[in-house]
Symmetry: C2
């Protein structure tokens, strides 16, 4: 019999080293099929370990099929094919060296204000939720009922939308909801109308299901709904309360036209009401779905109004879509954290969320006013400002005869980041470049310094 | 001019009552198009409110398009179509009356042990994460890098799988990941092989993309891989370390056969490694992907090993699928809570998670042993026990000449819930009914009482 002696170290359990050693001998072909291994006792003696240790190692090898026990005769190697591939490169331990630009102010559009977040009260609620038995289970595939009830109350009070908690589906974000919804709609519809310019993320979610897209034009003054009658699709995706990106709202006549169209052709309107809470010059407009919910699929989320990191969105489905949706997805797990759901439900129930919204409306209004006044002061007639009535960003159209790319790059070289809007436009291009400036996550000082840097970069 | 007097109450802001009053008059046709409204001053005087209040109400009506201002001439009603639909029924305030059965013990399979959860340490970590700026943003569409790094380390140490954090994609659950993955695979493949019996949730995720399904048989003794060569598909979904539901594992020869097959036909194996942490008789087997990662898509999650409510899953993608996946989904938002991700990453980094796994392996092993001994004692030759070596449930095959439905209903009538397995079987049916019994969320006392109730129900 071969000599199987090898040196044991102290870095890992002994049985594991023995197991690894034999496994590697077998895999590398150094021990042939049907060869007999030393007995449990022999191996224990030669390695100076207990028999229990060698037996544990052998049992693991037996369980995985590397060797077999033949009763009193001992242990034998099983036949095994040689390794098929080279070993992949070892996991790199060195940290990635990232290209670090010295960005001093980032007018990002994906952040909310951190300084006014009700941290203590949220923690208290979250810590309580973690003691509930529901937190240790998978949860309702369509969302926790306590949150759906709170959303129904909110939609009635703040968005004028009468619905029932059973018609509400909780998801983790708008795109994930559109992917699921698209599965149902695609059975009946093959194309959809989207806004141009419009939210690129929604377009991509529709393309996930190979919907063909028709574009209907939106201008800074509003949508051109007269184009609807020349289109073939019977589905439309819109952002009526705060157009993405122009920020314009549909008035009651446009809303009625849209609903009349959907009723006439028996189609559906997908209303993405993504940040209607933050309207500064008037109260938020009632939802489109508040006029006629039978032809409107309403989408809402807590990313802008509370915390994007929670990943909490929802939709309200009219019949018969609701029944079809529930049939399709009854055996799918929820994709949304139970903690996020239960904590948010409790927070809403206690009135904390509506207090937070009220507080943030004032905070964001002050930030918006401050940003707009600085932009006007420093850039004067070189820019025009779009969409300052609502939302967590503002657009500026820049009349300097330069490209969007140049504006973004010059800003970057001067330590300030701004975002493009060209990604939202398909055919209905703007003549001058339009830049998107988010302010929600910045302090007043940062906003001031950022505008100063933009001036240095552009003028 | 009409008399617009009405009574203001104290339940909501005055401007809002005025706005609501006029909006409803216009919608109901009680004020006609182009009719002139009282001036701001007149209305303020007749209602005994400030001019500011009436102006705010009018401005809101203007903004939404119900009325228009014509400079000094005052405010006029805009044309509006009559309401198209009856008002939907008002939101019901009464609580739903649910059919309450008196279930004393629920052998549910969707819960984890709550009593051993490291609540304090998790809270401390979670509370810290809530102070990080990352928590107030949207996050990386493919998952937070700190968590991906920790998963890469775990996979190398515990599953023998060498990978890179860039090849790891975080998702919220297995089905959501399969829906996204399916979008990529469907471009090249139209059918997939699944286990029979097998996880119904995976089948449904493949049907989401209209994959046609081929079934390959699995028995309590293991899979019959000889059938692979008669199949047309070049994709296969398997649970090699702990078959769902039988609990059997593939040995090294079967694993090699499977990998050889995938290499030969240039296909892919989807390895769902959903609960491999809990193996009681030996150490967990290395992942299939540890043998050859080029043809294996590895899926893992934290639902069984930690907390289902977190909704945290992941996959490791081989090239060229990884590049195609990242191209397809680069503009999609993450569907996973940033708090769950960052807290889990910190927890893993501190070694808390691996300590928890070790502790829970012992806890669950004791529960499993206890449950199995009770079942054997009370049911003897009337049942056989399947899959007690690993996992958070056990199957029992019942030789009483009765149906699965009868067993579940009789149990329910006696205050104990158990789960069917027939949903997992397609063609490869079992002759006698097989019942699934989960124990992870129950105490020893509950397990004992539950088995007692089952005996009352069935014998």
């Amino acid at each position: 019999m071969k000599n199987y002696l090898f040196v044991l170290n102290k870095s890992s359990p002994k049985y594991k080293q023995i197991y690894e050693h034999f496994k590697s001998l077998i895999e590398q072909g150094n021990v042939k099929a049907d060869e007999q291994l030393p007995s449990v006792r022999q191996l224990a003696e030669s390695l100076q370990v207990s028999r229990n240790t060698t037996l544990t190692a052998y049992n693991q090898l037996v369980a995985e099929g590397y060797i077999r026990g033949e009763g009193r005769k001992g242990f034998f190697v099983n036949p095994l094919e040689p390794s098929l591939h080279e070993e992949p490169p070892i996991l790199s331990n060195k940290k990635r060296v990232e290209k670090k630009a010295s960005v001093h102010v980032d007018f990002r559009t994906d952040a909310v204000d951190q300084s006014h977040f009700p941290l203590k009260r949220w923690r208290r609620t979250a810590n309580h939720v973690l003691t509930l038995p529901e937190s240790f289970r998978y949860g309702d595939p369509f969302g926790e009922m306590s949150l759906r009830e709170q959303i129904a109350i909110y939609l009635l009070q703040s968005r004028g939308l009468r619905t029932d908690e059973n018609a509400i589906i909780i998801g983790s974000n708008t795109q994930q909801i559109l992917i699921n919804l698209g599965r149902i709609l695609r059975e009946e519809y093959s194309s959809i109308i989207v806004e141009d310019p419009g939210f690129d993320g929604a377009r991509e979610a529709f393309q996930f299901h190979h919907f063909s897209l028709e574009y209907f034009p939106v201008y800074r003054t509003g949508a051109d709904l007269s184009q609807l009658n020349q289109m073939d699709s019977r589905l439309i995706y819109v952002t009526p309360s705060h157009h993405s990106p122009y920020g314009v709202s549909m008035n009651i006549q446009q809303r009625q036209t849209l609903i009349g169209w959907a009723n006439k052709i028996q189609g559906y309107i997908i209303e993405d009401d993504y940040d209607s809470e933050f309207r500064y010059t008037e109260q938020p407009f009632p939802a489109l779905a508040s006029i006629d919910a039978t032809r409107v699929i309403y989408l809402g989320n807590f990313s802008k109004s509370f915390l994007p990191g929670l990943r909490l969105s929802y939709m309200v489905l009219p019949e018969p879509l609701l029944t079809r949706y529930k049939n399709q997805f009854q055996n799918f797990e929820s994709s949304t954290s139970i903690f996020s759901q239960l904590t948010m439900a409790k927070f809403m129930e206690n009135g904390e969320w509506s207090r937070h919204i009220k507080r943030m409306r004032l905070v964001y209004k002050r930030k918006m006013t401050f940003l707009v006044s600085l932009l006007k002061k420093h850039f004067g007639q070189n820019i025009s400002i779009i969409g300052e009535q609502s939302g967590l960003y503002v657009l500026i159209k820049v009349y300097l005869g330069v490209s969007e790319e140049w504006l973004i790059e010059q800003a970057f070289l001067n330590g300030v980041r701004v975002r493009p809007t060209s990604i939202y436009f398909i055919k209905n291009h703007s003549d001058d470049p339009i830049i998107k400036i988010g302010f929600s996550g910045l302090s007043f000082d940062e906003i001031e310094y950022g505008v100063h840097l933009l001036k240095q970069a552009w003028l």
